[in-house]
Symmetry: D2
Subunit: 405 residues, 4 copies
């Protein structure tokens, strides 16, 4: 006879505790694919600007799970009867696993090599992996049920909405966590209040009328974090150096250049043969150690870029109010004259953001609805001048990056 | 003509801002040896227990500098005239650089390979390095002046005390930072209050009489963090696996085993030829990436230990109130029968701590004095029953580690 | 020979410490007029909704002083030379004293009896009072110099701006303090950041370009606090009961009704003979004790209203999207039929707010300017869609208050 | 048919929300006796030292209720079956009502007039009052059942322990609340952790072995708050002035002195005829308003003492390491020569504290037990050198108070 599962907790700086009450969740956390997320930073190159931002995707996965756990425990009490115990568990699994397919520094790796984390997460859950085995042991249908939440093809749309919508556990955790770790206070909206005003309603996640101002506050936290943290010019500079490293390494690989050392995970990236096992072997440490080895490579471009990345000699930037072809060309020529290949050393950044989308956005996230006392649903931007102000595409000034000469 | 240096700041989650007002500090932060500290975790294996504890020694170095900056700016106002502008700068440099010689996971590396971070820090400051060059450019005597602070041979003892004593900027920053990042509240003493009650007095750092309770609170924070965080059994388990990896790899090296991959920094460790340049190439990423490569090594002990470390399949532990030779031997036999070499898989931990030492301790840190209104100095433990309670050697129960069979 | 003044501190929950470095400030805090502010709640009837909101105007006065102290100590370092030591002191005095003329529950008392706190503050500083004496002892011109800051007739406009403008120490303290005490997180903008981005420039207080988002965040904190806290319907309900008490008592007084007890301060209010001495005798305790005595008055209206206020049996409210004369009349009739005089028991509230005014507002507060790197000043709303969204008059739905029948 | 009770919340700065899930609790909060607690400061004269300490006993009552609510909701899940639904409700009622019999500035009033808050609380619950009626309406036995919890005669000792023991909801709330409001960080122990390690066991409240350090931290918070806040010399000075006012007024009353104004509540105190109705009419505002009126009394001692209290011209103090009869007499003579009656103007304070009592203490509070994994209970001081250090009677230096001459 087996002992009943005893509640276990993780200390968490954002939520105080992450509470595990179900053995399946405990086992999933223990899989090697989840443990790998400890070695991938949540904010990619963000740490070069904000030295506190060393937190891992593992911490964020636990936090997303914890918010979901709290939400569904309320839904159980408040729902009109359409919410089931099984929905609880599937929601919590999906929350925990939603980012398991993230590559290290995934913005760069995805843009250069075409990896795609949503797709990879699904494969990590449904194809050969410890995760798949753990889920399968409970119920052979479970891997694909959980995957369908991430793919937004789960029969209950609301389950997907918990993990991915304008008001999801994913965003709520990362805003709080990134704010806490960077020391930037803008992201610190009132989570307790949000948990109190979110309701399941006709297959959607809605906000009660009395929670309108809290939802405004949350959307503004997103807006502020985007511009203050996520698009910070120094972070973006590191990102461009990183991309150039990957581009150069890929170029050399295609030229049959002989690297002194290419770790397993990168090998699969270069050769376009990425299976789950190779992907599992790809993390921040692997990438950084490869860069360290490449400091000594004969190719001067690769060696220089790796030194710049590791020693934080990044590219400088200047602002452009609008795209100025002539100026960009002049800068490229100047850089070339100094001996740098502009295709690796000159970059233009056009930061833009959809802090709030009135219509279903690229991720397929549905808009946010306010639920009035009379039972009507109103899309959030019709209720708030502030939300209207940040809705739609937001663009910042252009930045032109180049080395200090 | 050069522009005056403009004050610059780093966002810091613990101190809100780290403020740089002197160009020398700015340049030191930019050296590659300081940037390397971004790739070394402050708490070594602490992150396997507390998922928030991913913060780097770089962050702690900035924090130690910031506390020192605040302390010396008060000293300038309050000192009896023996404190000089130059003391300010040397104190701040020493605070920033005090941990620059830390190896990755230094507890393990120091115990296995005999590296010693205090010694290495001095070499990183005085021998060939970017740090040495930056200091030398200001004044050729500066490297050795700063090094003498760390060696406690600086003519003004109080300057060393700022960085290393019972009440130093080093400990004050790490207690606050480790508490913040782990989410454990015990370390959160009242820094503002401490800064107000610390005074320079006759070459010592003392605490005013009215600050006695604040100092008690700070010493208790240390005591609590030692037992709740630093000696946590799971963290220690990871530590033992780590040591076994290093011991096994060293053993194989001595047997002329052919590793598929040994990075530069580890090569120097194994061969005992560690110069500054090789040391610079040693960080957490290098170590973790080597472990990742060693998952595939032919040696089954090394491969198994590396998998355990990375996938967090650590050793289990049991408590022993006292050392029980018979039981330990039984456990070793049992482990051996299961096919594991007990010299790598069975460990005994005897956690002990000197939360407060009345006499000069092993680090040469002088005790803490309370300065009475009458101008007398009383050693702290004579003033507080609580401090007496935690003074001297503290021992916890023994723990016996072994694999789950 | 006198001892130099030793720095003194007050523990403050919002700023950690309020630091007094000048004997004049210390003496002003000790005057009985300043001590009286301990007996006047900062948020008037706010405590009936938010039980934490018991904080006094004294605490807010210290906090406004502390923010001003921090601002002017930066100005001394950064100003173009137009800022003097004397400006420091006058600014700090004005900050400390700016609310000294507040009556208890001043919204109600001002609306019923025509008292006016700005005017009274000036009288408390320049006419017979301990404050006047303390200032006069330092310099006979000082009382009027300080008063002119509050009157906005001080020759340096920027000094007034510190205490009263879109971005003043007054608002910065009360937003943080009210948020802290109510437990509502919306008001918690980033003070440290604001202090870093505020600059004196050509007689104005401006915000540097890099501080634009911080200023947005601060203006949104104001907006949120207005709607979430200051206009809370229950707080407003208490406010209307309070006004009715004062109106009824005034009416009875005019009818030569014989009250069992009228304290000195109220006597002066009723008779319109309010001098500084009588004003000094008017505080929250006096008002509440009078209401307690009036529970037993023969006049049933006065007795009932006082019981409602003290026992928190306030008026209920309903929303009106627009003013509906017919409905209001119906409600008044209904209330009258139940035996209540509608002139005391039915109230309409039309909350509105100027969270940010582009033009000089009613208080004469100038708008907020962003200072670009090129040295240009741009009015804030031209720089931010969010500020445009909350600029100008904001109106909430109407509320109709009446007793539960 | 009645609607089901909808969960309601109060915003609370310490617990974020106080949640009411039972209509009885809601009705009790609405009684006029509970509302009266809004007009009584939790820390009596503490606000003269810590200007943030204006929080009311009403806030503390809600907080004590909230902690109890969280504790009993865990007990329901974890108990061995002896805990019932009814125990939940009685515990929560007792927590909410435990301080309802507190007089304003109760230390002074209890010492001068012999009022006793525990006794009065019982009367307020069981004799004529709105509270009694609300409880009686649910069940005629309820008033006395709740009262027996406060009297520690409830059949289940553990129910009383929740509200009054070494580790009760009362102390946990006031330490956190007083720390939050004063801005003193020492009281901020880790409530979430405590709630996790407290267990009901054989009719006691015990702490699990893993919670030993958390309990140490909590006991130290008490110790620190006692010496840093509760026994602060300035707070005690105000306390002595207050007692002298009451003593003088009582003396005058006994001499048939004709006061210009004596409010109802004080009348009953003086005449020793305190019933619930008169007690209800006694609060901080009444007392302070009486003092304000007494500023103008003909009796110079009473008038002077009242002015001192309200204008914060308190008594100065000096330290005495031991009682020095000769010095005290000299001080009394000096004060008498200056025209002050030493019986009102000279006071000796001998602060002492029982931060932790190994045996049942004066309040009848049982000691704290640690529950080992083996199922044994060990009294806390046998488990912790730190607790031994603060156990038993703690004495501070004596203070001698007298007017500045």
């Amino acid at each position: 006879m087996s002992k009943p599962f005893e509640e276990r907790v993780f200390r968490d700086p954002v939520h105080k505790y992450v509470t595990v009450q179900h053995p399946l969740i405990w086992k999933l956390i223990g899989t090697r694919e989840m443990q790998r997320l400890r070695r991938i930073r949540q904010l990619g190159t963000g740490y070069v600007t904000f030295h506190g931002a060393e937190h891992s995707r593992f911490a964020h996965a636990l936090g997303t799970y914890e918010i979901t756990r709290q939400l569904v425990s309320r839904f159980g009490r408040e729902d009109d009867g359409h919410w089931s115990r099984e929905d609880d568990l599937i929601s919590m699994c999906a929350a925990l696993l939603h980012d398991v397919g993230h590559a290290p520094f995934s913005h760069s790796i995805e843009s250069v090599f075409g990896e795609q984390h949503e797709h990879r997460s699904v494969r990590m859950i449904t194809e050969y992996s410890e995760i798949e085995r753990v889920l399968h042991d409970v119920d052979p249908a479970l891997p694909s049920l959980v995957a369908r939440v991430l793919q937004k093809t789960h029969p209950k749309r609301i389950v997907s909405s918990l993990i991915s919508s304008q008001l999801d556990a994913d965003r709520m955790d990362y805003l709080l966590r990134d704010a806490y770790m960077t020391g930037v206070s803008y992201g610190a909206f009132d989570l307790e209040r949000m948990l109190r005003v979110i309701r399941p309603f006709e297959g959607r996640i809605v906000v009660t009328h009395s929670g309108k101002h809290a939802a405004e506050h949350y959307l503004l936290a997103r807006y502020q974090m985007h511009w203050q943290v996520y698009f910070h010019p120094v972070t973006r500079s590191a990102e461009f150096v990183l991309r150039s490293i990957f581009l150069r390494a890929q170029h050399l690989w295609q030229q049959s250049y002989r690297f002194a050392h290419v770790p397993k995970g990168l090998h699969a990236l270069f050769s376009g043969s990425m299976d789950n096992e190779s992907f599992f072997r790809l993390d921040d440490a692997i990438v950084q150690a490869a860069f360290d080895a490449w400091r000594d490579e004969r190719d001067p471009v690769l060696a220089d870029l790796c030194r710049r990345f590791l020693d934080r000699h990044l590219l400088d930037y200047e602002w452009m109010q609008a795209y100025d072809e002539q100026h960009v060309q002049w800068r490229r020529d100047q850089v070339a004259k100094a001996g740098y290949d502009p295709s690796y050393y000159v970059h233009i950044d056009a930061p833009m953001d959809w802090s709030y989308a009135m219509n279903d956005d690229a991720r397929g996230d549905s808009p946010l609805y306010v639920w009035t006392p009379e039972g009507a649903l109103h899309e959030m931007s019709t209720q708030s001048a502030i939300v209207r102000a940040i809705q739609g595409e937001q663009r910042g000034a252009l930045r032109l990056y180049a080395p200090r000469l």
